[in-house]
Symmetry: C2
Subunit: 470 residues, 2 copies
Amino acid sequence: MKNDVSILRVLQSALLQVARFVLRPAPKAGVALVLALALFTGADAQELPRPETFTLSNGMQVVVITDRRAPVVTHMVWYRVGSADEARGHSGIAHFFEHLMFKGTREIPPGEYSRIVARNGGDDNAFTSWDYTAYHVRIARDRLELIMRMEADRMRNLRYTDETFLSERDVIVEERRQRIDNSPGAVLGERMRAMLWPHHPYGTPIIGWLHEIQSLDRASAQAFYETWYAPNNAILVIAGDITAEELRPLAQRYYGRLRPTRDLPERTWVSDPPNVGPMRVTHRDEKVRQPSLSRIYRAISYGTDEGRQAHALDVAIDILGGGETSRLYRALVEDQRIAVSAGAGANTSGLGGGSVSVYATPAEGVTLEQVEAAVDAVIAAYLRDGPTDAELARSKSSLAAAAVYSRDSQESLANMYGASLAQGESIDDIVNWGNDIQAVTRDEAITMARQTLDINASVTGWLLPPEEAQ
Amino acid sequence: MKNDVSILRVLQSALLQVARFVLRPAPKAGVALVLALALFTGADAQELPRPETFTLSNGMQVVVITDRRAPVVTHMVWYRVGSADEARGHSGIAHFFEHLMFKGTREIPPGEYSRIVARNGGDDNAFTSWDYTAYHVRIARDRLELIMRMEADRMRNLRYTDETFLSERDVIVEERRQRIDNSPGAVLGERMRAMLWPHHPYGTPIIGWLHEIQSLDRASAQAFYETWYAPNNAILVIAGDITAEELRPLAQRYYGRLRPTRDLPERTWVSDPPNVGPMRVTHRDEKVRQPSLSRIYRAISYGTDEGRQAHALDVAIDILGGGETSRLYRALVEDQRIAVSAGAGANTSGLGGGSVSVYATPAEGVTLEQVEAAVDAVIAAYLRDGPTDAELARSKSSLAAAAVYSRDSQESLANMYGASLAQGESIDDIVNWGNDIQAVTRDEAITMARQTLDINASVTGWLLPPEEAQ
């Protein structure tokens, strides 16, 4: 996806990160962006390295991906809690904790966590999705224990004052203003999601609705933390210069003594009523320089599918809209020259379901009506005829190769395991992903495309400047 | 509103009634339909009779409207709980209780309540809205105590078996199928509401989403009942051949001994994020014989407004779309002859906000695009020029007269007091409603029209037959 993917990002954005850190590629969809130098070496090499796993007595799951190439480790803690687990009216609290986790414990003063990591030559990161919240550190192997001690400490012993709580709330309000409310595309994308998921928590923005962020209170925040931030709700993923045997005593020492949450709640989310027909929304804002069309469709995901459905959908949508060889790009940008960008992407990683996004930015003098008609024509032809064998082979190889590339990035690999496990997949699912992609048949791909690209289960968004300015 | 108001009803339908009873007019908006024979006798007569009120020691509010014309009473119990108070994922439970309340107590066997009322020459009714649940009986004055005893009994002592619970759930599923799922207009209206209120509980249908009704369980139903069905959450409205002095000992005897709910929860509902722009949805179904256009706008209500805003909105929307003298009807049906019906209505009674609905049914050979353009033109002219003095005077008189007419219907009057009190208004608000309507100025009306008829805070729905059939 080398096109302008900003709209796509907004629609799919399944991650919200602490703003001070660099955006890193999301797992799976993201690995395509990790352009490592590895050669694509055929089907056998498509399996990912199988990590070692064990579980501590308090229920904490541990995943170890040994990588001896450098004396470095990636340490990640993934909590099986995200914004989709928030109570009604308390949107934003999961992401709020991504911030509060840096606000200190009895051992570590507020703000010191990242400074200590940096002073020790590491860097850290954190992010929140609908499905999980994750804390990452990359650091020299000989500093691993330091990180484990600090990370275990803040899992259960966070301490912050009322003042800190309120001032961090202001920080998040400002973050929301900058990321969402000042970005017409983000505002539109947020509403499109709310329309596509009228009831399911995926319709609520990860960062939370502004008025609800503003009224988040410390008592319910604390209850959220004490319930969900617990070893029996966490996955420790360590990639790097260490084996499970070496890690086990450390994991036991730092994480093993943490108290689990008794009666950890089941993660049950409400689901949506059936779709009734095509939905549309138009957003106009003076900050819009370039009109654009976007559409999201309801879809299955690796968390909800059966068999190879999500694999088939990933392949089908890659053919339709992934990159400059895709149908949408070639038709709208190259052949018809009515769009300056066009594409599609499948967001199939959600624990509770997925979506497919389609977008196009019209060329000068072309209306959104015209671009939308052209998009619809490409989709109609695709659903009628299905992919060619060449398209199918190219997309499968390209997706499978992306997984293989990720083997060269310790962090990408760890990310993929952590996110996929937190989203309900098994180690086998992850190891075999590349092979399963290669196994997708033409029939499977076209079946999933037809099932998913149903205008009756979609929201189409138009982003435009104010009416006068047209 | 003598036009085809079926779409309007679906969009506004703030009531869901036990199916076996006749649909009676909703309060306030409904009183216009109560065409009593009373003469409109000028401004002074626009005040409604002021009821006597008192409160029992357990917190139950009592309202008595003495009406000596016949030896008959209307006995109503209004609970300050409705579908908007349901927990996330448990939609339909409020309406479920409207059914379960007829399923017996230790004293009254299942199904006997209505039979006893009927054997005593009365009739009963029950309904559920987002804001309240109400139980009505109309009966001879000398049978009042019988009703009070039975109604007090079932407020706290409902008894039903698991089997009854499950079989009644099936009844409600079937009710939903008939009322909503078999009615394309209802399906469309339900989704339009979900889009207009993406977060606020008014976006959830009163009857509940089908899949959630199907999974309602007895334990959470029972908790709902025990919390909300309590004297300190109820209003007793009695209209008829009785005074407060006569009623008080009876009320004390039957209702006064009921245990209140301790720590009755506050009715706090989540609210919606700002609107981002016009939303649209199209629903096609083979059962659609006649395409139609409908639109809903967010609005204030008597429960959320300040000063005379809701009064002004009622007047403004009546001028736009109330009946055959309205702008929409005259323009689309009479002058342009492009629609067979057209109108608008304000639903201003909600405790948590209101809406305005606009609808039109195109004439043979006219498209929905054409009808929508005509509707938009009428609205644009109205917002530009405002109402004429004659329109203003006529609408105010017609609305105020409707309130006066209701004085002749014991039940309408009781209905109006009960519903309005349950929706947060005061006795004074109700008594003075007609005068306040008469006081609405041209500026107030046009201000509210402009504030409300904002396409950016609206959902437009198209109802059509399947594409092939066009």
